[in-house]
């Protein structure tokens, strides 16, 4: 007997709905095994990871806070991936957006600037991210260079650039030599939504972005163009859609969203610019995009779910001494299962009898 893949005549809609759930289920099973290998109580670990963070208001807010950048970045990435261009450099665009917006905060720090500062910072963050994303886009469109490699290399560059800035020209003179800028002024800080809590304005932004993306992709001709360019490039050309323009557009939007998320993160929950302020949101957002199957609402749910695992991972480290790397492993395995289950949308797996030898025809 042998397992073979057979293409389905049409996408299976039932599988499309159910596959993320199957993937999550399989991942949990794998994690139970992993916890057991690590010598931790699996049931307790699962509870600390997935249930506990949902039980008190503080961690619920934290989930939303962590989900905000994930969702914003992932929406941008989903546009690129739908167009079949692989923006891997979201982390770099995230950092550069933070840097671009922080410039204004650092410049106006201590001066009595007006409330225009924060909106200006946000605009600069988005613009910075967009421009940084245009580098790999233009390298691809004009020169044919792989956007995967160029966008990724630029992540390392962005990281080093940020490091240079906060250790050098932007370092807080009163900061005891720590590599960080001064704390941002209140006008340069993203306002909190509920007094005393952690939920900030960025969450509203994220929701708006989700809504806008949903409308664009399902109802607007531009969304259709993006989808066709990714699904059938020659048909897109036949339809009159300019794939180069669309590639540049999706990268620009993605970069802008990542950059915006970056400055919001720095001007919000963190409050100042420092190296390593990002726990790899740009990369986790890739998983969010796939888990949400490149669909805005799916991404919202997936972002919340992954944020949950971040919080759970932190708590598990404190409560059960489970290393933080386990969260990364979980995310990687989850992505694998999601991709594997998604394959069933397009293909069927069948058992085929090999009582007659299957044609192999070796050389």
């Amino acid at each position: 007997m042998q397992l073979v893949l057979e293409k389905r005549a049409e996408r299976s809609n039932t599988i499309a709905l159910v596959s993320p759930l199957i993937a999550i289920g399989l991942t949990i099973v794998t994690m139970v095994i992993l916890f057991a290998i690590l010598g931790k109580n699996p049931a307790l670990a699962l509870r600390v990871y997935f249930i506990d963070p949902l039980t008190d208001s503080y961690s619920l807010q934290e989930i939303a806070v962590k989900a905000t950048p994930l969702v914003m970045i992932a929406i941008g990435l989903s546009l690129c991936y739908l167009a079949n261009v692989w923006n891997i450099g979201a982390e770099g665009q995230f950092l550069i957006g933070a840097v671009a917006g922080s410039w204004l905060a650092v410049k106006t720090n201590g001066t009595d600037a007006g409330p225009w500062v924060l909106p200006a910072m946000l605009v600069m963050g988005a613009t910075g991210g967009a421009l940084y994303a245009l580098i790999p886009a233009i390298c691809k469109v004009r020169f044919g260079a792989s956007e995967i490699l160029t966008s990724l290399m630029l992540v390392y560059v962005a990281d080093l650039f940020l490091d240079y800035l906060v250790r050098g020209p932007w370092r807080d003179p009163n900061g005891f030599n720590f590599p960080t800028t001064a704390e941002f002024d209140p006008v340069a800080t993203v306002p909190i939504l509920v007094e005393g809590g952690r939920l900030h304005l960025g969450a509203i932004f994220a929701l708006i972005v989700v809504f806008a993306a949903a409308v664009m992709l399902s109802r607007m001709i531009k969304g259709f163009e993006i989808r066709v360019v990714g699904a059938a490039p020659r048909a897109a050309r036949f339809g009159g859609f300019n794939s180069k323009q669309l590639i540049v557009l999706t990268f620009a939007i993605s970069g802008a969203l990542s950059g915006l998320a970056g400055i919001i993160e720095v001007a919000g929950p963190v409050g100042h610019l420092q190296p390593g302020f990002s726990p790899g949101y740009g990369f986790t957002a890739i998983i969010v995009a796939f888990l949400g199957r490149l669909n805005p609402v799916g991404i919202l749910i997936a972002g919340l779910f992954l944020a949950l695992t971040f919080i759970g991972g932190e708590q598990a480290q404190i409560a059960m001494k489970i290393p933080l790397d386990v969260t990364k492993v979980f995310q990687g395995i989850l992505l694998f299962y999601v991709l594997a289950c998604d394959s069933l949308i397009l293909y069927r797996i069948r058992l085929v009898s090999t009582s007659r030898q299957v044609p192999s025809g070796t050389a």
Binding site: L5, F143, M153, D325, L335, F336, Y347
Partner: protein, 310 residues
Amino acid sequence: MELLDPKFLESVILSILAASTPLLIAATGELVTERSGVLNLGVEGMMIVGAACGFGGAWLTGSIIVGAICGIVAGALMSLIFALMTLGLAVNQVATGLALTILGIGLSGLIGAGFVGERITPAAHLYIPGLTDIPFAGRILFGEDAFVYLSLALLIGVWWFLYRTRAGLVLRAAGDNHVSAHALGYPVLRIRLFAVMFGGACAGLAGAYLPLAYTPFFIPGMTAGRGWIALALVVFASWRPGRLAIGAYLFGAVTILQLHVQAFGLGIPSQFMSSLPYLATVIVLVLISRARTGGSTAPAALGNTFVPDR
């Protein structure tokens, strides 16, 4: 130190060789994978797992060889996961490669957690009395560690395999046109499976080189993007083994030279110098893509999913 002092030059060349070796090994493996038509972006993940397992194996047994084997096996197993997904389930290769990298980084952190801070005796360097003592050329030619010689042997072996054996011809055919290869009766998926696992084994070995010979300890994230640079090298080499060696040594040179320039204290921020290898990769990719006149030199079927019809 005088720039042209032979001793200084010798040590620079030695360090370039050392820095280039992991790039060369990983890129050689990926070259074979891509020539068969598969794009495996998970090289960084496989390398770093190879580093963790390689160090662990050597530290636990005291043998560099065991460490190297652990690295190879780890890389091959990681690539097996990739193969099951992309070849078995026809999953998109780009997404799977990324997932492999993310998983690899996480796994290596878990595995390596127990070894951080430990040290081992690094791989021995060759010593042939008389030959190795020749000033300047002696240590470069006859005083390297086994990995360096292995990397060159691997490259030559791959070249010979691809262009002088029938199996290599079949592999190149599968990467050029998997539909034709299948129609002629060749087991495309099986060929690709071997190519992918070879690439994984190489990536694991390259990763293991870092804590076994380059620096005698393990730090999480010690690959620092070398896997990605190896991928760029394959493009730079236009998928041909000869140019791969040139590319690997060039990149090794950039990595080493920026360290020396930093040491000269020219006032250039260290972060800028450290970013040179990455910037160089971007520039090289742009230049190489522009320079490609005529047909694309990439294997025509690269990255395309193949599901045989029955």
